[in-house]
């Protein structure tokens, strides 16, 4: 009996503790993919701080890159009766059943960072994602503006073959190249989004293009490959950022270190702050019933040496990249 009473008392205390201080406060469940990359870790930590800023209770479930864990997490959020669910889907298909359950429970779902198949269009409130075609275009436009009409041979370090981000970032960049006759992509190979492969591929590009003399710029689908490429250029006796221009995407801290050192020129940010706009949309939806647009596009901001890279490095390095 006493143990039961104790249990009940503990439960009561737990409930009181977890009760929101004011009725207006929201609880949001966030099914995160897992720790697949530094960017993902940064997204998780930024989500926490954005929620704290708005006094929203954020419950994060780490799915360890498994869809079944995400489905379990969503079901448990529904059972807990959260006010909204954020989902960073690990794959694009297979969500219909569980999202229908959320809809029946009248819990709005917001997709973060990645979209799902069109069949699930009616099952979520909005998707907050970056436009990776646009990211590639921003990178291309920076290069076009910087070389200002001069002929420029570009080598491209692609992401993993078949990854949609890689395909889109290539497409966006190519669209700018097509409009500027002075820009020419002379070599394009995959560096699998990693530093090691970025370095290896760049070593070959340098040798194949007259020791790097024929290369005017490098475009990498992510910063990590560029960090590797910068090392390859230095080892070949070239000055990255001067002899060869660099532009890449993601805006991870280490590229700002390189920009500050004058070894890289530009990066396009894939913001880790997807939760901020999502939380704003949910709060407006809950308070006034404002239905957000189906797609909230995050800004693809360009950073160069003019943006105080050292300061950005200092502010970003604590985020878990």
């Amino acid at each position: 009996m006493t143990s039961k009473a104790l249990l009940a008392a503990t439960a009561l205390v737990a409930i009181t503790l977890s009760l929101p201080a004011t009725a207006a406060e929201l609880t949001v469940g966030f099914s995160q993919i897992g720790s697949e990359s530094g960017w993902r870790a940064a997204e998780t930590s930024v989500s926490k701080s954005e929620a704290a800023k708005r006094k929203v209770t954020l419950k994060i479930a780490d799915a360890q890159q498994k869809q079944e864990n995400q489905i379990k997490a969503i079901r448990s959020f529904i059972a807990q009766g959260v006010d909204a669910i954020f989902l960073a889907p690990v794959v694009s298909s297979g969500w219909d059943a569980v999202l229908k359950e959320a809809k029946e429970a009248k819990i709005p779902v917001v997709l973060l960072d990645r979209d799902i198949d069109p069949s699930g269009k009616e099952l979520y409130l909005t998707a907050v994602t970056s436009d990776s075609v646009h990211e590639g275009a921003v990178a291309g436009e920076w290069l076009a503006k910087t070389v200002a009409g001069k002929a420029c041979n570009v080598v491209e370090l692609q992401g993993t073959v078949g990854a949609s981000v890689a395909t889109n970032r290539k497409k966006g960049f190519d669209s700018v190249v097509a409009k500027n006759a002075n820009l020419k992509v002379v070599r394009s190979q995959t560096g699998d989004f990693t530093r090691a492969k970025g370095k290896e591929v760049m070593e070959s590009f340098i040798k194949a293009e007259g020791g790097g003399k024929n290369i005017c710029a490098v475009y990498a689908h992510n910063d990590d490959m560029m960090v590797g490429a910068i090392q390859a250029m230095k080892e070949a006796g070239l000055k990255p950022g001067k002899d060869i221009l660099t532009v890449s995407i993601d805006a991870v801290p280490d590229i700002f270190k390189a920009i500050a050192a004058g070894e890289a020129n530009a990066t396009v940010e894939l913001t880790p702050n997807m939760a901020g706009p999502a939380l704003d949309a949910i709060m407006a939806y809950k308070a006034k019933g404002t239905v957000p647009p189906k797609w909230i596009q995050t800004e693809s901001k360009l950073y160069t040496a003019a943006d105080d890279p050292q300061k950005i490095y200092d502010s970003k390095k604590g985020l878990g990249y």
Binding site: E36, R40, Q158, V161, R195, S204, G228
Partner: protein
Amino acid sequence: MMPSMMQRLLQSRGLAQIVALLVILAIDRAVSPQFFDLRMQDGRLFGSLIDVLNRVAPVALLALGMVLVIATRGIDLSVGAVMAIAGAIAASLADAHGLPLALAAALGAGLLCGLWNGFLVAVLGIQPIVATLILMVAGRGVAQLITEGRIVTFTAPDLVWLGNGAVLGVPTPVVVVLGMLVVTGAVVRGSALGLLIEATGGNARASELAGIGTRTMILAVYVWCGLCAALGGVIAAADIMGADANNAGLWLELDAILAVVIGGTSLFGGRFSLVLAMVGALIIQAMNTGILLSGYPPEFNLLVKAAVVLIVLLLQSPRFANAGAVLGRARQ
């Protein structure tokens, strides 16, 4: 009598591999005319050929350990993950504690991983492919825990030297591989150890009855494999001045196994060759570098690789050589 001579040549040990390597190097030269150009750059040899030797280092080290494991009729799937662990440890410790401690800790971790695999296989009798699968999966998780999922960078110059430095113009990773090859060769071929390993792989029970400590043999080869993998991991981390737990050594266990198999060592254990495993690794890397230099779209990378591997393996196959001989005779 061309066919029978061909046949004998093809069956002489190591010739097929060396011919394959030379052919691939010739193709590399054809797609990229400056392939054999060498010059000095900041006290280090510089050229595509050096790239091949330098880039092969991690896989060559893995193959060096793997060939002994495979000779005992085992396999070690965890080497890629062990690379990630060792790289993560070295990168985390190098800046604060210096190279000796970082290196000792990383190699120590490799030894422990090898001991774990060896214990599962030799003592508990678990099938090698399953036993090492455990560490293959868990090991990457361990590495991610060490790095907290981020890329840990370092600046310690002596660790950077391990990846980017040179000894008399030769890149350090190449020197390390040669050193390890000589040490391993001296230990296994300078004594009866190599023979005992081959006997263990050929017939464990008969060897046991003949008085060979097969358990100790198996334990020892997994420990050596773990050590080689750890060294490979340190070099891979030193190369990019950072430990990338998500990607370091990813799928390299397959390249290492492939290198050993191309080197003519059977997955069923028994006779092995350290040098030919190195040639196998070089074949893979010469092909990789050639693909990068060729300028073909990356969608073709894996197809080209698969085709070349198939051809090299066919060249070594006695049945294929016999079939060739039969065809030749029929034509006569």
